[in-house]
């Protein structure tokens, strides 16, 4: 009940509504822009830009003496741009690589910002209080006018991203090709940087310079797990950013004394973690399940092949289970024999000690084992003769029996016979291999 009342009071408070719309817009906007930064491999750039806005904010306050968000926006944008120009300049004209340049610029700009901040706090200006909220953000302090400025800027950014979508995609995927087409890629790169600076600046009040970068990059990284299309990735990232904004604001308003910015970042990170684990294709869980399936499938096929080839080599109808103990990889899969017995592929005959000792394939088992061995050997012959066989399928694409094109099968079978490598047991039901062999 207490929580319910808190939620109600939250929505009754008009300023809380402004705060939540502000953080939602911020999440939305940084989600969209973050995608491009992420794909352009500029993940760390957001962090540098965020930190480098601090001296701009301080300078804007020192010069104008006002705390209007518009002046902060200008000041922060200017030093943000200066930082990005510095990075570009260092990487292009010196031997220093980008990672070092990022580290240098971040610490220098942030250091200057802290110096200026301390300077302001020690000055006699009575208006100085509250500037330090830009360090970690304080979204509760946002008022209508802040959110209006934020919202306007965010909408402009989103429209620009929509307009330049094609060009930004080109920039992120293959900038050199884009340049050869005549698009000014350096200009576009700078434009993207500018967008990022502006997105960072509008997020400063809510998330602060230290944490703003997380809002840019986390939703994008999370969205990448869910899709293979840039269009969808941008939308998903925007939705995740907005959701994190709402969730973070809500949690921090329900639980007292938790500041909003960090909670938003934690929400975004949780979304990322969930994506990383549970995403259907790229997620860790899906990958693990796929790996397990493949392992099981391979073990199964190898087991069939091993039983078949043991019988084939000695002309026996069955094979002793003890020989499996000497097989380097199959001995781990002994329990699979029971599974196969249950499925009716084989019979395990019990020895004197009461334990299974002999493996005997059933009719169904022989059929499967024969097919398995046939395809395994066709694959080998295929790899040997790839160059001779008239085909536009290349071996790189063929790794399992399902991928052998049907029209190649007669040819491969003939080759098997020619090499004396055809499976020699259980040909009763399958087409005899000897047929159609050129003399």
């Amino acid at each position: 009940m207490a929580i319910f009342q808190l939620v109600r009071s939250f929505f009754d408070d008009p300023n809380a509504l402004w705060v939540i719309s502000g953080t939602t817009l911020l999440g939305l906007c940084s989600g969209v822009l973050g995608c491009f930064a992420f794909l352009r491999k500029r993940g760390l750039m957001g962090d540098v830009l965020a930190h480098s806005t601090l001296p701009g904010i301080c300078l804007a306050f020192m010069i104008t003496g006002s705390k209007h968000p518009f002046f902060f926006l200008i000041g922060a944008t200017l030093t943000g741009i200066a930082a990005s120009l510095c990075i570009g300049w260092i990487t292009r004209y010196s031997r220093i690589k980008e990672d070092t340049a990022l580290g240098l610029v971040l610490s220098v700009f942030f250091g200057v910002g802290i110096v200026l901040l301390t300077q302001i706090q020690h000055s006699d200006n009575g208006n100085q209080s509250g500037l330090d909220k830009f360090l970690f953000g304080q979204s509760a302090s946002m008022v209508a006018s802040d959110v209006q400025v934020m919202g306007t800027v965010a909408v402009i950014l989103l429209i620009l991203c929509f307009l330049f979508f094609k060009e930004l995609k080109l920039l992120c995927f293959d900038a050199n090709f884009g340049r050869s087409l005549g698009f000014p890629m350096r200009g576009l790169d700078f434009m993207l940087m500018l967008f990022l600076v502006v997105a960072v600046v509008i997020g400063l009040q809510a998330a602060g310079v230290v944490l703003m970068a997380a809002l840019l990059i986390t939703p994008a990284a999370a969205a990448r797990y869910w899709t293979e299309r840039l269009e969808h990735m941008v939308l998903i990232s925007a939705a995740m950013g907005a959701f994190s904004g709402i969730l973070g604001t809500w949690i921090s308003s329900v639980a007292y004394h938790l500041s909003t910015g960090p909670i938003i970042v934690i929400s975004a990170t949780s979304v990322f973690m969930l994506s990383m684990i549970f995403a259907p294709q790229r997620g860790l869980l899906a990958k693990w399940i796929r790996l397990m399936k493949i392992r099981k499938q391979v073990a199964r096929e190898n087991l069939f092949a091993w039983i078949y080839e043991s019988c084939e080599g000695e002309g026996n109808e069955s094979v002793s289970i003890h020989r499996l103990n000497h097989h380097p990889s199959l001995k781990k899969h002994k329990q699979m024999l029971h599974q196969l017995e249950k499925e009716g592929y084989l019979q395990l005959e019990t020895g004197e000690d009461g334990k299974p000792s002999v493996i005997r394939l059933t009719e169904k088992g022989w059929e499967t084992a024969y097919e398995t061995v046939l395809y395994k050997r066709m694959l080998e012959v295929w790899l040997m003769h790839e160059g001779d066989l008239e085909s536009d399928v290349h071996s790189e694409a063929i790794t399992s029996k399902e991928q052998i094109p049907d029209r190649l099968i007669p040819e491969l079978r003939q080759l098997l016979v020619r090499h004396g490598h055809e499976p020699k047991r259980y040909q009763v039901r399958s087409t005899p291999l000897k047929e159609g062999v050129p003399s």
Binding site: K166, K169, N176, L181, E228, R229, D392, H394, E396
Partner: protein
């Protein structure tokens, strides 16, 4: 009649170290041209310099007698496959569609017609079945063919290809040769950076032998001989005796 590509006194330097020196070259119209040379000879650099992707230390480039910037629409480019990150959220068709962006210009989105053209280009390289495949799911050769299709979608007059044959499978090699021959029949000029000396005579009408400077240029029959290759590769080439003319670069 202006040559399709004309390079005058072109030099390129990385960090003061010259990579290309005083290149003078006129590409013959409507031919398949191989750019041949050892590693570090500046083959890719030459292409990039012509395309304006690198700053020139000196010299100038003319495309049909005009500066490159005015002739972009007539040029197609196949970069090295490794130059991009293939784990990008997009599919093969979408990459080929990028070849249309130059004609589309700013802000305009690809239309149904561009889609059709892109699809047709994928078909030409035997990749229509993979149109909707995410690009990191393609094999190296298939990725190379996607790049080739993208260049075809540019519908250009002159093509620059940076090592299209590098590390590809037999099927891709065949597809690329098919495309090259088709381009030649359409009287297009194609410059190809090429590594495999064995296939030079078979693929190319003329060659440009390069090792920081132009060693020799002209019809393959006249220029592509042991003497010029020795000059190009210096001591790094062993020419095995015999009719096969087998050459091993090391």
């Amino acid at each position: 009649m202006n040559p399709p590509v004309s390079v005058r006194n072109l030099s390129v330097a990385y960090h003061r170290k010259p990579v290309l020196r005083e290149i003078d070259y006129d590409a013959p119209e409507g031919e398949l041209i191989g750019i041949i040379g050892p590693n570090g000879a500046g083959k890719s650099t030459l292409i990039k310099a012509i395309l304006g992707l690198l700053p020139l230390a000196s010299g100038e480039v003319r495309i049909y007698g005009k500066p490159y910037a005015q002739q972009r629409q007539r040029i197609g480019y196949v970069p090295q496959r490794e130059s991009v990150d293939w784990d990008f959220p997009t599919d093969a068709l979408d990459v080929v569609m990028m070849g249309r962006y130059g004609k589309l210009g700013w802000f305009r989105r690809p239309k149904a017609e561009d889609r059709q053209i892109a699809m047709e280009c994928l078909r030409k390289v035997g990749m229509e079945a993979f149109a909707n495949r995410q690009i990191s799911q393609l094999s190296g050769g298939q990725q190379q063919r996607v790049f080739l299709a993208r260049a075809l979608a540019q519908d250009a007059q002159i093509y620059f290809m940076d090592e299209p044959f590098a590390g590809v499978d037999a099927a891709t090699e065949k597809a690329i040769i098919g495309v090259l021959n088709e381009l030649k029949q359409q009287k297009k000029t194609v410059l190809v950076v090429h590594h495999d000396l064995q296939t030079v005579s078979e693929y190319f009408d003329s060659v440009l032998l390069l090792n920081m400077r132009v060693i020799a240029a002209g019809p393959t029959k006249e220029v592509f001989n042991a003497e010029n290759l020795q000059k190009t590769y210096g001591g790094r080439l062993t020419i095995l005796p015999g009719n096969s003319g087998l050459m091993v670069a090391r």
